[in-house]
């Protein structure tokens, strides 16, 4: 077990944000966290990333407690958060710079692998939204950590770009199989990408249910139109709807 979160609680002043979160990510597994907005997903990431410490419970990575320890995960935020004064290549080696000497050769090979080699020396302002997110993902990959935390990375993209980005992410991931914890509020996205899905409740957040996604890999777009996919989507949708009650 790579990442294990056990009975974690977190409150801010009077507000209880996380009531009881237990989840785990295996080596090479793609896990999605699915929940309504304001369900404390970013608090979970803050805890894993070491920006906050849990009030109770334990978070372990490779069986070591990581409370308050930063820089142990690869992270891809919702906004691409590329540094505007750095070229694409300089951006993706940034995380390596923090811990030691960057390996530019490896970085270049990665850009080539994902077809971005011609943008090596481009500045972020010259890239489209989808391309920026690809760069942000490669940057997370190059952090050399075994766990990648992806925080709604495609939510700001338009529908067409999003689908092609999801396919792109899967194709890159399948050649390399790092563990991924993927936060999303799109049922379809979670089902299409993940091996397992944790459905979260609204605040104070608990894990409502764990769904094992039975679809074989490699997956492609045609999966989205199959009966089992649609069926599972309906089931999860109903659960989320119950969760939100009249609010939906």
């Amino acid at each position: 077990m790579l990442l294990n979160i056990e009975h974690v609680k977190k409150s801010f002043a009077e507000t209880e944000v996380l009531r009881d979160i237990s989840l785990h990510v295996e080596e090479g597994e793609f896990v999605a966290l699915l929940g309504p907005s304001g369900s404390g997903k970013s608090t979970i990431f803050n805890l894993i990333g070491g920006i906050m410490e849990p009030d109770d419970g334990a978070i372990t990575l490779n069986h070591k407690v990581i409370h308050g320890k930063r820089g142990l995960i690869g992270y891809m935020p919702q906004q691409p958060s590329l540094f505007p004064w750095r070229t694409v290549l300089e951006n993706i080696v940034l995380v390596q710079e923090l811990t030691g000497k960057p390996n530019r050769q490896e970085a270049k090979e990665w850009l080539e692998k994902v077809g971005l080699q011609e943008f090596e020396n481009a500045y972020p302002i010259e890239l489209s939204g989808g391309m920026k997110q690809r760069v942000a993902f490669i940057r997370a990959m190059l952090s050399k950590q075994n766990l990648l935390c992806l925080d709604e990375p495609f939510s700001a993209l338009d529908e067409f770009t999003r689908i092609s980005m999801q396919k792109w992410l899967l194709s890159v991931w399948e050649t390399n199989r790092k563990s991924i914890l993927f936060v999303t509020h799109s049922i379809e996205e979670a089902l299409f990408l993940a091996d397992r899905i944790y459905i979260l409740t609204k605040r104070p957040t608990m894990v409502k249910e764990e769904v094992i996604v039975p679809f074989a890999r490699p997956r492609d777009e045609s999966l989205l139109n199959t009966e089992p996919f649609f069926h599972l989507k309906q089931k999860i949708f109903k659960q989320l709807k119950d969760e939100l009650g009249e609010g939906l």
Binding site: I51, L72, P84, Y123
Partner: protein, 250 residues
């Protein structure tokens, strides 16, 4: 061509004002000791250039040296205040107060304290130059995009890395805005410091001209100061283009 397109408007307005001035002086027959016509100022300027150039050079050197010292001090102060917010809270009002000291009054005191050497002059220039840099740099540091800061935290950046890799480069455009203001102030600062006792410089030339009622020479000095400020401003702008890569989306 590009330069002309972006600055052409300003040049036309300037020429128009000079023309208006020329005509008014000619029509009213104003005597030259009261207000010389621009044409007279320029022809006089060309005449005195050989002897005046040493003064210009002295002031330029003084202004640049003062600007370098003042902006270095401003930058260091800004960094310290940024790293230590408590110190910032305690001393920021003092910094603002330092800008309310009338330089004209302070300068003679500085000469009493430090003599007629270079030091009091540099203090005067540095005093007018450091403040814009402090304000600009502090604003730049403070306005660093929160999502980039958050990313750096998640990536495990230390405070030092956060500063050198994110906050400083992010603040550069703002820092250059401050530097441009300081550059234009530095020439004025140099001239004021020269009024109080110097062997050469535009300030000295100005005082001598004024004492001998050579109003045209006073105006030559004024125009030179303006030109010098604009040139320094341009120099900083050139550095800015050199240093700032990509573009910050704000």
């Amino acid at each position: 061509m590009k330069w002309l397109r972006s600055n052409g408007g300003a040049i036309i307005v300037l020429l128009f004002l000079l023309g208006l001035w020329e005509i008014i002086v000619k029509i009213t027959g104003t005597p030259a000791w009261l207000l010389p016509a621009p044409s007279q100022i320029f022809s006089e300027g060309f005449k005195v250039i050989p002897s005046f150039s040493t003064d210009i050079l002295a002031t330029t050197k003084l202004a640049i040296l003062g600007l370098v010292i003042g902006s270095a001090a401003g930058f260091i102060i800004a960094v310290i205040l940024h790293i230590l917010p408590i110190v910032q809270k305690m001393t920021y009002p003092l910094l603002i107060l330092s800008q309310n000291i009338p330089i004209i009054v302070l300068a003679p005191l500085l000469i009493i304290w430090f003599g007629f050497g270079l030091l009091p002059k540099l203090i005067v220039i540095a005093l007018v130059c450091f403040f814009p840099i402090v304000v600009a740099a502090l604003d730049g540091f403070k306005n660093t995009a929160p999502e980039l800061k958050y990313y750096m935290q998640m990536a495990g950046a230390s405070k030092t890395q956060m500063f050198w890799k994110l906050e400083l480069p992010y603040a550069l455009p703002s820092l250059f805005s401050g530097l441009k203001i300081s550059a234009t102030y530095s020439v004025m600062g140099a001239v004021i410091s020269e009024w109080l006792g110097a062997k050469q410089g535009i300030g000295v030339y100005m005082t001598l001209s004024q004492a001998s009622f050579r109003t045209d020479h006073v105006f030559v000095a004024i125009f030179t100061i303006m030109l010098l400020s604009v040139l320094l401003f341009g120099l900083i702008q050139a550095f800015e283009k050199l240093f700032i890569k990509g573009k910050i989306e704000r």
